[in-house]
Structures are given as C-alpha cells and as structure tokens.
Amino acid sequence: MPVATYLQAVNLALKEEMRRDPDVFVMGEDVAVLGGAFKATEGILDEFGPDRIIDTPISEALLVGAGVGAASLGLRPIVEMQFMDFISCGFDQLVNMAATARYRHGGGLRVPLVVRGPTGAGVHGALFHSQDPEAWFTRVPGLKVVAPATARDARGLLKAAIRDDDPVIFLEHKRLYRSVKEALPDEQEPEPLGVARLARGGSDVSIVTYGGTLPLCLAAAERLAAEGVDVEVLDLRTLLPMDFAAIARTVGKTGKLLAVHEDRRTGGLGGEILARVVEDLWDELDAPPRRVTAKDTHTPFAPTLEAFVLPSEDEIADAARGLAAY
C-alpha cells in the first residue's frame, strides 16, 4: 500500500471493519453524503449504502444515546462528533449512560460503541474547534480512551476500538490528519488497546506523550540527540487504561520523566502521570519530573496567541535538556 495520511488511515480502518463485520455502522452529522467535515468517512456511503452510514440531525446527546442503545442490542455503532468539542453537548450520555450501562445491568450487557472525531489545536480553530477533551473522560471508569499519533496506529487502534466490547472514545488529532503520512502494510491487524509504544529509544530522559504532541517530542529528541542527549519517547496511545508498566520501564531506565501534552496543564493527564510515578517509582527518580503542556487558558484564535498558549518543540527541548542536566 502506498503512503497514507493519518486521515486516510482512519478512513481505511472504518471501511475494513465495515467489510469484515456487518454490525458495524456509522452515524453522525454530515458523515454520509458529504463524507464528514474532514472526509474521514468519504466513500462509505457509496460502498456500504445508507443503512450503514447515517446522516443525523444536530443532536449530540441523541447520537451518543442512540449509540448506546444500538450497541446494547448487538450492533457496533461508530458515532462521529464533527468536532470533539461538541461532545460537551452529549456529555451526560457518555459519562453517565454509556460508562455505567454494563455496571447497572450487573454485567448483563455490552456496549461496543466508538465515539470518534477530531480534537486538538494548532490550526487556528479557536475556543470551540481546538479542544483536547481527553481528561474529561480518562477519569471515567467504564470508558476507554484512545489517542493515536501515527497513521499506522490510527488504523490499528481504530480497528481494535471497533472490535472492543466497551465504549471507546477515539480521539483523532486534526493537525495530524494531513500532516502525518507513512507507508502502511496491505493488511494490518488491530493494535491492542492499553499498550503504549516506544516511539524512540533513549537512555537519558523519558518523554511520555500521546496524540498531537508526539511529532513535537520526536523533533525535540532529534535536536537533543545532536547535542548528545539521548531521549526516549513513549507514545501512550491508549489513555484509559494507561499502560503504567511501560511508563515504569522507561522511568526505571532513565530516572527522568517529562510528560508532554497539548491539553492544558491543570487537570491534564500529565498531572496524573507525575502523581503515579512519584507514588510508585520514587526511588527510581533522579530528578523532579516535569510537564510541558498548554498554558492554563482557553485556546485562542489569533496565531500569536495560539502559539503562546500551545506547547512548543522549544519548550519540550528545553525541559528535556534541563532534566538531562539535573
């Protein structure tokens, strides 16, 4: 298969799973005729017909709730949020209905629902088309949260998410949609959920990241390599459950932890990572762990403001360099 973008990988995974399993179908706003605002569902209507991909009214709560209903009866709905920011409008259905359905039924049902869509900043989307909502969901038992950073993972993890029997929030970083490309194999198995991936080996400092900031971290690591600092980069891929064993391995190796994400600092996943590491791996640490994240404000529109708020390759490199020198 030729080089595919992250976006094409998403599209491919959807089609491959729809071919494999007639229970898989897609619902969302403008997903069928238009093929989605970002074209993630392009071609699905033509290949699978209108029973397998449904253009819905603008009703995010309905979308998630109907997904729970269809999933509980054995279908495998994939619900697209046109932008993940709008999940705030279906929030209750996700964190209360979907996340507890199995629990409330004493284990007597399964909810194989995927809620997917574009997240993230860096394209001047401003306050409501730039959000990184993962930390709202990583604190909700009963949900799984996945955030691929490569085209290969977008394909492999989305397949796994679709085959998974629990509600999965699948976060696609919109800045990666067309900027990330790689050669993909003709056939690709699902990538297991819950397993981090070592994106780059190194011995001096561990960067733990996911999603939109992986490319920044790799670029920063590249720069530091030229300075003789050997940075290891762990791509979490699944955010709930988190692969803490992999974090422990890399921290055990380097003794120095830098958590990086595009989400804001306060209440972001980085805090949780740092807390677990200091609780469980205190004796492994050779330096205070650090975070590089967006600043604690909304993601603003003007490019100057947005650049000021978002984490940068420079900040990552500086923090890693500082840790290495500690």
């Binding site: 009866l73 004493g106 007597g108 009963g142 819950g194 981090a196 070592l198 391995r249």
Partner: protein
C-alpha cells in the same frame, strides 16, 4: 397491577423497617400504565422504565426475587448491588435500566429502535418518561430523530401532574405533552392512565403502528401519584381535595368494574390474584433477604466487558516513525 401494588406495599413496609436505604419512588395509582403498556410486548421488545415503573419490570417477566434483591442492594439483584432501586435492567427480558438523569433513556430507546429498523425486525422500543422529564433536551433530540427515521418506538409520557413539587403549569405552557408530537411528525395520543382498558387500547394502536412501519407514537397517560415524590416526601404542595378526587379514580377498582361489566366473577379473580400475589411477593422477599450482601471488591466487576490486562509494551524503537509534522491547514 395488584402484583405491582403489593410489591410496592412490601417495599414501603421494608422501607419502614429500615431495610431499604436510598430513595424509594412509589408508582401507587399509576400501575395501569406499566401493565397496559407492557401487556402486549414480547421478550424481544425492549422497554425503558422510569423510576416509578416497578410494574414494567414485573410485567416484562423480570424475576421478582431478583427485583426485590435489587431494591435491597443485594448480590442477587439485577445490578448485583451496584445501583439502587430501579436503576438497573435485565436485557434478557428486554428491560433496559436507566440512569437517574431524567429523559436520558429516550435517545437510547431510539438506538434500540434503529436496530430493529435496520435489521427489519418486528420489535418495538418503549420508553417511559414523566411530564417533568419532558422538559429535558434529550427528550426533544430523541423525538425528533424518531420522527425523521420513522422508528418503531413508543414514547409513553406518564403525566402525573407533578414533578416532585413542581406542578405541570410550571413545567410547560401546554395542557398535553402529546401536543408536541405534531412538531416531530409523529402521532400523539392521550388517554386516561388510570383506566387499564384505555391504556391497553391506546398502546395497542401505537404498537401496531410501530410494528407496521408506521413510525413512532407519543402516548400520554394522564394519571396521579398517590404518594409523595419519594418516601421522604409528605407532598404538602398538593391539596387534599386533589388527592381525594384522584383517589376515586383508582385504576384497580376501575378495572374490576370493567371486568364485572364483562361478566367476570371479580370476587373470585380478586381472591385468586391476592393469594398468588402474596405468594410471589413472599417468595421474592425471601429470596432477596437470603441473597448475600456483596463484599466490596465486586465494586470493580462489570465495569468492562473486555478488561485489559495490560501486556508488556513492545520494546525497541518502533518500526514506523512518523515524519515530522507538515502542517497543511
């Protein structure tokens, strides 16, 4: 109906005995709705009961013992002690349990109905909601979607004129919730929720329409709850006249009169029913009381269908490294 009522009586009694903790919501006076709406449903039809719809569970065939154990928070309950009162379901009997969030099951019912439609199955989803819940956005989104896709779903509004202390006049500016049906391109029907025959008849029409591909119906059943919002609520916001007035319209004697008019020996029916009801409830209570309390760690069970035993991460640099990002937007 009698079974529902006796079941509830027993719950009230248990509540008084302090064996039920957590909220208890009585549907006393409204029993005809659950019975009338579920009588003609099969096990594959899926219902979405409300917090007062004990009768829905009973008529749909949920085991009384498990139901009572559910209410007592026992391991043998539908949610295995996880959630309280009627926030639990038994999908094997076609009962989907809701969250507490009012109106939130209506979108879920649409999803179930969508499945029936996509699979050309002759089943129906039936979602119950109060006139209070009708104010929630979820209800609107669900009804609109059901209208667009002409889904086999029946929305049953149990209009008992109060939402906790809030009278209907502060809940909406219309007399009938069913007036809204037209705005969703669906049929709205109103009937007395205290008249089992009327509920059966009205629901029958809605179910036939749904099964024949005629789309959704909004059935509004006018009724009244005799007791407070929950067992803690003395319901002082209502007048005694109103309560008395509605007491004369109790669904059980009304149904008995109906049977009598059709030549049934009501005294005999009553005797038999009462004996049967007592037996069933006694057994349910016995089962529930014998059911063990969960110990604690079960709190982690049933969270996931596919729990992830996180395996070892593949070591070494990944086979694929993404190119540095090329921002194209």
């Amino acid at each position: 109906m009698k079974l529902t009522r006796e079941f509830e009586e027993r719950i009230s009694r248990l509540h008084l005995q302090n064996k039920v903790f957590g909220g208890v919501y009585s549907g006393r006076g409204q029993e005809a709705i659950a019975v009338g709406c579920c009588a003609d449903l099969g096990p594959q039809d899926v219902v979405f009961p409300l917090h007062r719809d004990l009768g829905v569970f009973v008529v749909k065939g949920v085991e009384p013992g498990r139901l009572m154990a559910q209410i007592l928070g026992k391991e043998g309950g539908l949610s295995r002690g996880k959630d309280s009162f009627l926030h639990a379901g038994d999908l094997s009997k076609g009962v989907f349990g809701g969250t507490s969030m009012l109106g939130a099951t209506l979108p879920v019912a649409c999803g179930a109905a969508l499945k029936f439609k996509l699979r050309h199955e002759p089943y129906v989803a039936v979602a119950f909601f109060g006139e209070g819940a009708s104010s929630r956005g979820d209800v609107h989104e669900a009804m609109n979607f059901a209208g667009v896709h002409q889904l086999p779903v029946v929305f049953v509004c149990e209009n008992n004129r109060y939402a906790y202390s809030t009278p209907q006049s502060l809940q909406m500016a219309v007399e009938d919730v069913a007036e809204r049906a037209a705005g969703y391109g669906m049929k709205g029907l109103v009937c007395s929720g205290n008249d089992l025959a009327a509920v059966l008849e009205t629901m029958g029409r809605a179910l036939r329409r749904a099964r024949d591909g005629g789309g959704p119906t909004l059935v509004e059943c006018k009724t009244y709850r005799y007791r407070g919002h929950s067992e803690h609520d003395p319901a002082r916001y209502r007048t005694e006249e109103e309560l008395l007035e509605w007491s004369t319209r109790d669904p059980i004697p009304r149904w008995e009169l109906y049977l009598e008019a059709r030549g049934r020996d009501v005294a005999k029916v009553r005797r038999e029913t009462e004996a049967e009801v007592t037996r069933v409830v006694d057994e349910a209570v016995a089962f529930a009381e014998a059911s063990p309390e969960p110990e604690g760690p079960e709190a982690f069970e049933d969270l996931y269908a596919t729990p992830l035993a996180v395996p070892e991460a593949p070591e070494g640099p990944a086979a694929f490294e993404p190119e540095p990002p090329q921002l194209t937007h």
